[in-house]
Symmetry: C2
Subunit: 398 residues, 2 copies
């Protein structure tokens, strides 16, 4: 498998991203479309927030049949807390794209991200759709990726190519963050397309398998968006019969790798983030225990500000671990910060803290907590908490 | 009842606070003692963090019998993650005070706050205890309150006086924050003493009743300390028979008022806090539902940075409410920010946002979310998330 953070052409799909005037900043891309040559197998996961935006409600309903031909995604407005008018707006938005490309409106999934509580202008949207339809090209995934950005500092893409049963298969995707990130069941907005031939039930399973180590293993601020959507579409344009057996397993692995790369990019570009930290909890009695501890550490403001300050603050780590409600034996616990063992067998290795602090200056490092109680493990990617997180979020307005 | 944020003399108790050299800053008070003339009725609540500091383990055990004669509390070291040596240190610390005042060591409760993973110097501690014992005075509650401060910017005290059955009763207390605050079952360190005559079982009930609207209703950063301790001691020096019936109810109310005032001061002085915000959730189907939503809002970094930016960001509020996992009907929801209705009946009142933003410049305001689904309610006091929170926590070292 050949994984990269660059876009790639994927047989059967075209993309576009245009500036439709939905955002305040004039000329900034804010409307993206993905169009398949014909209805593609599709699977999706969505936010588990009890408050769901209108496009989530519509997309969730439409993906049930396992087929989509297009996606219409905008930034500038989340179309959330917009009642029946919001549902109608999402439906009309899809209908506009369906009319342009000549497919049933039910085959178009809507996605929105941006400010909550506002309806975007449908006329501007329709004009944007016409422009986007005219611009469609297999080479424009990056334009699409740019159109869905909000506080992201750059577009995030990843792609993989591999041989499956003799044929070359491509998987490419993009995602946007950068705040309200603790997905649990999905991410902000992420789209992955492939030319592999995969039937909808298998595609759903592929998506579920890709989640635990990708979009479900990251956090920026512990907040969960109302609009989180991850869509996976397979055109089958690479030819051959629908994947099964060993080929399907290899495909699953490649999709998971693309999803993992996108998730990692989301955290790296988290609001105000200066460091990517992978929290690994090992030696737990169960994976659920390990996950709970890893998340408490990954979301603790005190731990995250210590990352920012390059401070191997053992006290905050053990405090955060302890509030997970999972039994911990302090006499066994071993903690490694950026590869340096800072605590073990009930003792803090104060002489090792300076070396750990020096290593924490790197833009990327790991924090490993070995409970030495069992064999289960979990890992969560998180970022630090900086002045810029406060700046971005105190100044980004309603 | 006459409630104030000033200290008061409480019959039967003396206090002291000295600089024992346990902290890095020379001359800063770091060791405080409370001594009762004779064994007093006592009740306590402690952190629910699975990682408990040595003094918590020792104090929890000692308070079971319902009697304490003294408290020895230090800052500069949390005596946590210190294994058996930490337990021994806490016991020796209590023994030092017991020897000075001539009581059984088991009648002294230890409390520590500060850096985790270090043992403080017992010899310096003993010298400090001797100095403190010599300085004991009914007028020195403020010295004690200063000795337990860490990142607090000022000592926090509250007292109340009321007539019970003809006798004047005084209740006085102090507390320290200012980070790792989301107590759930206790607070950082808080001490309340009274000259009322109350038997231990009633005193325990008084303490439990005081919690929901005080130390259990606040959050600074959602983090929970390993050392949280709240102690309540009653000397009976005011005279009369142990309280019961209506007098006990009035006493409970006064203790709750003192605890509430202290809890409020903790949030007001939260790390980097510039605003005190009371989040009230009304109209819920159950108090547990209301509490869950209020806590999600109170702990959301996105909501807290919006408070700092005086931004009535409805989207973040509804996002945080939605992730509580409680059913919400957006068509009924009503939200008031700083007294201004910004959303109701499924619509955001954009014309009201400027007025709400202006009111958010006040140092104290309320955010009310009425779910209109039932009659239950809950309220949580929180503070905003500022540059200074990041500064304090990125620079405070291990």
């Amino acid at each position: 498998m050949d994984l990269t953070l660059e876009p790639r052409v994927v047989g059967g799909f075209r993309f576009a991203g245009v500036a439709a005037g939905l955002r305040k900043e004039p000329g900034r891309k804010d409307l993206g479309v993905i169009v398949a040559d014909r209805a593609a197998a599709a699977a999706g996961v969505f936010t588990t927030n009890r408050v769901k935006a209108a496009p989530v409600v519509v997309a969730q309903e439409r993906i049930r049949r396992g087929r989509l031909q297009a996606v219409a995604a905008n930034s500038g407005s989340a179309n959330c807390f917009t009642g029946k008018a919001g549902i109608k707006l999402a439906q009309n938005s899809c209908a506009a794209l369906a009319a342009e490309i000549g497919c049933a409106p039910g085959l178009v999934a809507p996605c929105s991200t941006g400010v909550i509580g506002h309806l975007y202008d449908l006329e501007k949207y329709r004009a944007g759709i016409r422009e986007a339809a005219a611009a469609l090209s297999p080479n424009r995934l990056e334009d699409f990726a740019r159109a869905i950005m909000t506080t992201d500092t750059h577009p995030k893409m990843a792609s993989a190519r591999l041989k499956l049963g003799g044929a070359a298969v491509t998987i490419a995707g993009c995602a946007k963050g950068a705040g309200m990130i603790e997905p649990k069941m999905a991410t902000m907005l992420a789209f992955v397309v492939t030319d592999a031939a995969v039937r909808p039930p298998e595609l759903r399973r592929t998506l579920r398998r890709a989640l635990p180590a990708s979009f479900n293993a990251i956090t920026v601020d512990g907040d969960m968006s109302t609009n989180d959507t991850l869509l996976l579409m397979a055109s089958g344009a690479a030819g051959g019969r629908p994947l099964g057996g060993r080929d399907l397993a290899a495909f699953d692995e490649a999709v998971a790798a693309v999803a993992g790369a996108l998730a990692r990019e989301l955290v790296r570009d988290g609001e105000g983030a200066t460091k990517l930290v992978t929290i690994e909890v090992r030696g737990a009695r169960s994976a659920a225990d390990a996950d709970r501890i890893a998340r408490q550490i990954a979301n603790s403001p005190l731990v995250k500000t210590a990352f920012f300050g390059c401070d191997p603050n053992f006290g905050r780590i053990v405090m955060a671990a302890g509030k997970a409600g999972v039994a911990i034996d302090l006499e066994r616990l071993e903690v490694r910060m950026a590869g340096i063992r800072i605590a073990s067998r009930g003792a803090l290795h104060t002489e090792a803290l300076a070396a750990a602090a020096a290593k924490m200056k790197e833009p990327e490092f790991g924090l490993t907590i070995d409970l030495k109680l069992g064999k289960a493990r979990a890992s969560i990617m998180t970022c630090d908490f900086s002045y810029d997180y406060v700046k971005i979020n105190a100044e980004y307005t309603t």
